[in-house]
Symmetry: C2
Subunit: 301 residues, 2 copies
């Protein structure tokens, strides 16, 4: 099935206890795409400013990522994020953010993409998420992410977005913030009441939780000592998960559970190096080997 993603594209500056990356390609839809493209071609929709380096476009174009939907807007500047991680690197600290073109009108979904089957609305303003989604004619699976900013400032709009998607991929702190509930299974079920048929709660180093009406599946993260930069881990998780589902063409609970492993493995590669360095060069056999390792780890009796 065809897979469309829309979300942020950015220029990142990141410092972690293991080093730093300056002026590198980042953004939610970018991390998503490099994970998803391991399973299926990606239709990419987003907007950057005219300062967007051609070399960054080349990086995206070097993979099976269709950039027909990438708008380079004259007179606008690309989204920029500067962040740092300290200690256990569980939480990014935003040092500086320039929304720039993200604060302007949303990009259009190209005509050639309006028949997309699977749509991932990576984090952006929830009203823009709905506007983008409305341009896709009859998607079979729609999933969104969000961040604390919209929970705090655009709760009503975010609630409307949650009502029109099939699934939500969100992190633990955010689902607690949105629902006011501390138990994650209960919080996930609260989201289901709005309409989605599944919620995936990302817990960083602690793995992920899939909540459906009648099932809760928890998986650990891949245990590793090699963590250099957590930036993009959550987006890579979503990319691995939805890329796999689009390739499989089925979205039942069994498929979702298999996709959880794919997501956690994508994230595990992303965090091994700064920016996209690792996830951009990882091979499908390396991914499959790590999935097999995780399956073996979880096969206990």
């Amino acid at each position: 099935m065809s897979l469309l993603v829309t979300g942020s594209i950015g220029i990142d500056n990141v410092v972690t206890p293991h080093g730093q990356a300056e002026e590198v390609l980042g953004g939610s839809s970018v991390y998503f795409s490099f994970a998803a493209v391991q399973y299926t071609p990606v239709r990419f929709v987003g907007v950057v400013g005219e300062d967007f380096p051609p070399a960054f476009r080349d990086i995206l174009a070097s993979h099976d990522i269709d950039l027909t939907g990438l708008e380079v807007r004259k007179g606008s500047k690309t989204f920029r994020w500067t962040g740092k991680y300290v200690g256990d690197m569980a939480q990014a600290q935003t040092v500086g953010i320039e929304l720039n073109v993200l604060a302007e009108a949303a990009p259009r979904v190209p005509a050639a993409f309006t028949d997309s089957d699977v749509v991932f609305l990576a984090n952006t303003h929830p009203t823009l998420q709905r506007e983008m989604l409305a341009q896709v004619r009859s998607p079979k699976l729609t999933v969104c992410d969000t961040i604390d900013l919209w929970i705090n400032t655009e709760r009503a709009s975010l609630t409307e977005t949650l009502k029109v998607v099939n699934g939500v991929i969100i992190n633990d702190a955010e689902v607690r913030m949105f629902t006011g509930l501390s138990n994650l299974v209960t919080a996930g079920r609260e989201i289901l009441k709005l309409g989605p048929s599944f919620v995936v709660i990302k817990k960083g180093e602690h793995g992920a939780l899939l909540v459906t009406a009648d099932n809760a599946t928890a998986i650990p993260a891949y245990p590793t000592e090699n963590v250099k930069d957590p930036t993009g881990a959550g987006d890579s998780f979503a990319g691995g998960m939805l890329g796999y589902l689009a390739a499989e063409g089925r979205f039942d609970t069994a498929a979702l559970r298999r996709a959880l492993l794919r997501g956690t493995v994508s994230a595990s590669f992303t965090i091994e190096d700064f920016s996209l360095r690792r996830v951009m060069n990882v091979t499908r056999p390396e991914i499959d080997a790590r999935v097999a390792e995780l399956i073996d780890m979880l096969r206990i009796e």
Copy 2:
């Protein structure tokens, strides 16, 4: 194999968002025992004051817990702990603590217990842990727990204790505090350098991590909406784990991984009600059913 536990026995007062428990039986070795006794008889060594309610002794005696090693010390008072949990209940807040008899001389290991095969040194002063261990002639498996108090105040003694045990069961915040390392696999391996052949890192609602020289196994906690009181979850985890290992009589990595599931299931029952109410009455078929459910959850492909 025979199983001996020594640690605290207390009178607890606990408040959580779901209610409260006043003047109830608690303590690390008590929670451990009720989990372990599902698999094997427990040899119990500990000391209480003369204020220890006979009804509490009866609760212990009603199960296959041998109280030969329970000393009721004249003129002394029983250990008391008052705590509360708020929000996501991830961390207990100690409101009041009275060490009482725990600040005095350690109890003796009865002669009949000195041939014990498996020894669990539940949390207490690390010097007392070594003194207790020294009274057991030739144990086949020795495991200890500890808490932040001893890491902060008795680091040298704690290090000596870690050098003489085969395994350590410790929580995530504590292993990070002791090692100064944020990555849990790396922190676990740092403990291994002191001598133990395995470290189990308890992560509460996020499950547990088993670290050996050549393997790291992560398992999630049993996902549940039913959490009333986390008190004793970590001790129940250790009890389920070591009770199972003692019954199995083997301690290789495969057995340790199976034991991890037993530990997480014991903890999952403990937290369903205040004090020992749930873990005291859970049946072995209920435990086995939940272990099977967890195995099924983790069997993804």
